[in-house]
């Protein structure tokens, strides 16, 4: 059984699965139960400034989209930061950390964007003994209207400024949680590290209206006839999060910097994908909200089994391993040619590949007598759509054409060397080879 212990910013946790700042981490009762269930760490739900706490709507606070059999694929929420008094939270954090010294406990913070507010709260958090703080620059709903959350995260200068204050008034690691509601995630990440952040975490939720009630003519969740945009999360957002994590991991300005990945982590595989893409650990919320705390058992067992199978003895062995293989489109090998191949023994003759290719792609699949589907290499560009729509895993595969053979589509001999767009003759700004 592989060792899942992770060291993130010097904070040790028995596994890389942390609960993200969210309703599951709102209070002592939940956090203790989460630790007992086996979570490696917890980011305590966001605290605000001292004084009267924020007020949440009664609800409904969540909306959802579903896959087959009501499998929850995406969730959005309009809940704000903690609505409990600051002092209550601080006391609970102190008690919990004392009882669970081996688990990571991070405190999420969101206070107004002025130095005094941060200067006031940071010493109070320091006293709790928590392992670090996470700056909530991400929530896109509610708090953003008051100039906090994503309203800060969308302005790199503010990120840098607040991060600097935190580093000045707080001695332990500072993680900056980024909003995805921005055109280029690298800018806020660079700003965070410019402000000496120890790490970034991402993504926070994506601004969304998840569905519309066609009877009430209002967005969902609908509250007394009205709805508002909320934060979108769950398995559906994972691809967006993966890309943003990868962008930061391969950005020359931030590459190698610690990242805590968030966004639709539901299984051990999701976690492994984020970690090979450069994340030092992962944070989970929707999976726990859907299945309960116990879901971490599968994540731990799965990651451990995969590590054993691959011969990894520590999470450090694979973190970031896929980053060098993320590249720009322009560097993809234009000489690489492959063709779809349909395994006739595995084919169940549904014809989805044919419909997809014939109606929406390159008319490269023949439908022959007795529903035999075959690829016409002379038309196939290997787009992979047939693979994606085929209900049978591994029935259709992409087979590389051996260099030296003629591609029947182009009539040209497939070249064995690497050539990309930057030097392609069709590219007006192609780099000319030296004379």
């Amino acid at each position: 059984m592989a060792d899942l212990t992770t060291d993130f910013l010097g904070i040790k946790s028995p596994n890389p699965f942390w609960l993200a700042s969210a309703p599951p981490t709102d209070k002592e009762y939940n956090v203790r139960r989460a630790y007992e269930a086996g979570w490696g760490g917890v980011v305590w739900k966001t605290l605000g400034s001292e004084g009267p706490p924020v007020v949440n709507v009664n609800g409904p606070r969540y909306g959802a989209i579903y896959g087959a059999d009501r499998r929850l694929l995406g969730l959005n929420n309009i809940e704000l930061i903690t609505d409990r008094p600051l002092q209550t939270n601080l006391e609970e954090i102190t008690r919990v950390k004392k009882d669970y010294p081996d688990r990571a406990l991070i405190v999420s913070l969101m206070v107004p964007c002025d130095e005094e507010s941060w200067k006031a709260i940071l010493p109070l958090v320091e006293e709790t003994g928590a392992d670090g703080i996470e700056l909530n620059f991400g929530c896109p709903h509610g708090m953003a209207e008051r100039g906090m959350g994503s309203a800060v995260g969308q302005v790199p200068e503010y990120i840098q400024m607040v991060t600097q204050w935190c580093k000045q008034y707080y001695s332990k690691p500072v993680i900056v949680k980024l909003t995805p509601n921005i055109s280029d995630i690298r800018n806020p990440a660079r700003a965070a590290f410019a402000g000496n952040a120890d790490a970034v975490s991402l993504i926070n939720t994506i601004n969304s209206i998840i569905s519309v009630d066609l009877d009430q003519m209002a967005p969902q969740p609908t509250l007394d006839g009205k709805g508002t945009h909320g934060g979108y999360c769950g398995p559906a957002v994972k691809p967006i999060a993966l890309n943003m994590v990868a962008e930061i991991a391969r950005d020359p300005e931030t590459t190698g910097k610690p990242i805590s990945a968030i966004g639709g982590v539901t299984t051990w595989r999701d976690a492994a994908e984020f970690m090979v893409m450069g994340a030092g650990n992962v944070q989970v919320c929707t999976a726990a909200m859907t299945y309960g705390f116990r879901v971490v058992e599968e994540m731990k067992a799965g990651l451990s089994q995969w590590m054993d199978e691959k011969g990894y003895t520590s999470t450090a062995d694979f973190i970031g391993q896929a980053v060098p293989n993320v590249t720009d489109w322009k560097y993809l090998n234009l000489n690489y040619v492959s063709k779809a191949k349909i395994d006739q023994d595995a084919c169940i003759k549904c014809g989805r590949c044919y419909a997809a290719c014939e109606d929406t792609s390159h008319q490269a699949i023949w439908m022959k007598e007795d529903r035999v589907f075959e690829v016409n290499d002379a038309e196939c560009v290997a787009c992979n759509l047939c693979v994606e729509v085929c209900p049978v895993e591994n029935c259709i595969s992409m087979e590389a054409v051996t260099p030296g053979e003629v591609d029947p589509r182009t009539g040209k001999v497939v070249q064995g060397d690497y050539a990309n767009w930057t030097t392609h003759p069709n590219n007006p700004s192609a780099v000319q080879a030296a004379e």
Binding site: R70, I348, C350, R352, M367, P391
Partner: protein, 445 residues
């Protein structure tokens, strides 16, 4: 005196009211909405879907399943009913395991087809529960069509004609319409008087006048119908039954299975229906299975189906065979009746073992005798009462194309007509297609 299963002879009340009610409840329970959504999600929406090809009525199955999946079962029903107005009954009685569900690619892939029949029922039940009829009639054409026989073919033909604006007189020899849907078919496939409710719902289209107690040769003649109407559609079914031609066939306790099933379907107190303690059913088709299973469900202690060929040749599908076995019916293969034994009433049946050589059944000479106090004959039905002058083919009314008979302006469909399997769904298709042909003829000049 012994009670229940062990009571001798053909007696009523073998089982309690509760047992009877449980035995004759729905064979396949109706889907709840979430079950339907999950089942619908399994459909791959195949290109040129094999299930549609396998459906005699060409229902756009992937489309209706998708409509269920997106939460519009009523729209799904419209898709079904536009091709098959008896889609509700077909959802219950179609041998889907040899039609759409056999062709389903998931049957090929994993041996578990999309449950098309149950999904179809979910859609049609949802729509029919609204109590409204989903189709409206076209402008009146002034044409009149006589439909003889109110079984599935006749009902389908009449509905389509009425929808197209023609006026239809629908004649039925029995006391009420429905044909085999009403009088044949196992009770557990059509519970809660579904056949009659479906006919009432179908007739809401308007323009169809039902006249019961009328048959060719009994109040009707083809010549008179031809003179009075612009077209005639014959859907008179197979009213005759084959004889056993074995000694003892007239002993008391020997009956045609179709009569037993009809009594059962028309009974409003199944507990009062008498059934034997040791029942033998001769035959191998759906009628044999329906009779045998229902005899068992009524409380017969031993029920045996005796079929003269091997299992592979049995017309009843493997699903039906399994159903029979599950309901306690013993299936005997390669046996044929030699003599029914008894003095006044049946006491047993002598069967001879058979071999099939070059497709022909031959007795081996070896016999076995079963104790029996009731014997049902289910060895096929025959055309009875076809009008003179209409050409026959293979014992049925010869038809070409969409049900055209040898006589001008006379069409035929359903079990009485040549071609196609004797299934409800086939009858519906034939009635519908003949109606379209009649319509084309009536509106062509």
């Amino acid at each position: 005196m012994a009670q229940g299963h062990q009571a001798s002879g053909i007696v009523a009340g073998r089982l309690s009211e509760d047992e009877i009610a449980s035995n004759f409840s729905d064979l396949h329970s109706a889907y709840a909405p979430h079950e339907a959504a999950v089942a619908a999600d399994r459909c791959y929406f195949c290109y040129d879907a094999p299930c549609v090809t396998a459906c005699p009525t060409d229902i756009d199955i992937p489309l209706f399943i998708r409509q269920i999946q997106v939460g519009q079962p009523e729209g799904a029903a419209q898709t079904i009913l536009s091709q098959n107005i008896l889609g509700g009954m077909c959802a219950r009685v179609c041998p889907t395991e040899t039609l759409c569900e056999e062709a389903c690619v998931r049957e090929a892939a994993e041996g578990k087809p999309v449950e098309i029949g149950r999904l179809q029922r979910y859609a049609t039940d949802t729509l029919m529960a609204r109590g409204t009829h989903p189709f409206t009639r076209a402008d009146a054409t002034g044409k009149r069509v006589a439909v003889v026989g109110a079984g599935p073919a006749g009902l389908s033909c009449a509905h389509r004609l009425a929808m197209l604006g023609h006026d239809v007189s629908l004649f039925e020899t029995k006391g009420k319409p429905g044909g085999l849907n009403e009088f044949g078919i196992a009770a557990y496939k059509s519970t809660d008087d579904f056949a009659a409710r479906e006919v009432d719902w179908l007739l809401k289209i308007g323009g169809i006048t039902v006249e019961t107690g009328k048959a060719l040769g009994s109040g009707l003649s083809l010549d008179a119908l031809k003179a009075d109407y612009d077209a005639v559609f014959l859907s008179i079914g197979l009213a005759g039954v084959n004889a056993l031609r074995a000694a003892g066939e007239d002993l008391s306790g020997v009956r045609d299975a179709v009569d037993f099933i009809e009594d059962l379907r028309q009974s409003d107190d199944l507990g009062s229906l008498p059934v034997g303690r040791n029942v033998v059913v001769i035959g191998g088709g759906m009628t044999a299975v329906d009779a045998a299973v229902q005899a068992s469900l009524l409380g017969a202690q031993n029920v045996t189906i005796a079929y003269r060929r091997g299992r592979d040749a049995m017309p009843a599908s493997p699903f039906e065979q399994d159903l029979a076995a599950a309901k306690g019916v013993k299936l005997m293969f390669n046996v044929m009746p030699v003599a029914i034994l008894g003095d006044g009433a049946v006491t047993g049946i002598e069967l001879e073992y058979t071999n099939v050589e070059d497709g022909r059944v031959k007795g081996t000479g070896e016999t076995v005798t079963l104790v029996a106090d009731q014997v049902f004959k289910a060895i096929g039905q025959t055309l009875d009462g076809a009008p003179d002058g209409v050409a026959l083919e293979g014992g049925k009314i010869a038809v070409s194309g969409p049900g055209r008979t040898s006589v001008a302006d006379v069409w035929a469909g359903g079990d009485c007509a040549s071609g196609g399997e004797d299934l409800t769904v086939t009858a519906v298709a034939e009635g519908r297609d003949a109606a379209m042909d009649i319509h084309a003829k009536l509106t062509s000049c």
